[in-house]
């Protein structure tokens, strides 16, 4: 049965914080007592910040699309080629 979407401000304020609160509040995890005051810090430690500097670059993910833009703008192409996707797991 589908659960109605909870639109409480407590949910929208920080989804990740909610998850951690839900999962860790007062719980003993990994052999260490987790204090509620630690939750926000732990959330920040797990969830990748959206403003990491490398994310400010307008990365293309299609080399041909990049080639089209290079023709159009008269710029060289910079390719970040990794084992695993550089924007994801690597």
């Amino acid at each position: 049965m589908a659960k109605p979407r909870n639109r409480s401000p407590h949910y929208t304020k920080s989804l990740c914080l909610f998850v951690l609160s839900f999962g860790l509040h007062g719980a003993e995890i990994c052999g260490q007592e987790t204090h509620p005051d630690d939750l926000q810090q732990r959330c920040a430690a797990i969830c990748q910040p959206g403003d990491a500097p490398w994310r400010s670059v307008p990365w293309q993910t299609d080399l041909l699309q990049a080639q089209h833009l290079a023709v159009e703008q008269g710029k060289p192409i910079f390719i970040w080629a990794m084992d695993g996707h550089p924007l994801g797991c690597t």
């Binding site: 998850v19 839900f22 990994c30 080639q67 089209h68 192409i77 390719i79 970040w80 550089p86």
Partner: protein
Amino acid sequence: MLDRESTFADPTILELLKTQFIPVALDQWYTRRQQDTEGEFYRRIAGQGPRSDFNRTTQGLYIADAAGTLIAFNNNRGPERIRALLEKAVADYDSPDATPIVREKTDPRFAPRLPDGAVVVRTHAKVLSGYEPTDDRWQQIFQSAVSRDNLWITADEQRQLAAGEMPESLRLRIARFHLVDDTRGEPPTWRREEIRQFDVELNNGTISGKFRLETADQARGFEGTLRGVLAVESGKLTQFELLAEGNFWGTGTFTMQPPAGKFPLAIAFRLADGGDIADGIPPHASRGWVEGYWHPER
């Protein structure tokens, strides 16, 4: 991982990439294999560099012009070196007389696409503690790393979730492919028989459970709990929040130097909103065998 925190954290490099280059990020495991127009263009560029054996990795940083002429290659880390490389390329750049390449062929083997109605869930893993203190800059980056991958959930699986059922395919997909330590590189996934326990309940939109994954030789394992919530509206997930946390041990070929013994690992799952370009990246475990990703029971 290292590049993000070193080369691509340098303000000058970022400004150069944003203003003077067309930056593109690729998983070259795909691109060097692709028997299609994009793959041909990539091999044309990479083949001019030192990594021209396309049966092996061609990992690195390349600068090329729109005609496919390689200007520079580097696979060393360090902002100073890359900054100098970029500045020289800009100073010397002479835009060629090139036309947009028409995409005549796409290799379906290496172009996994999110099916109609499927959704993307972002996953982030973090080692919470256990590393020995170090002054080594690169090790510090690994030790504080937060990984990023995507979990794909099909339309049919969402319908089952809406009915209050945890689909077996989703249960196995999460266990085998997403309860991994990918904070130091590409992780090994789990064989089906390595799922020793994966008891998960879905009750009125609340997810709870316990899991234990372990290799036969007991050299690698992950044991912990699952907690989360989900919501489905009109057959589509509108909320999916899940936290897997427990003790991990062991390593893989590309995830060396974990903390000693068992260490706490947390993996957070959150429904993607499409606002991040990385939301479009296929799950790492789908690489090379997307059917296996969709059918983890195989």
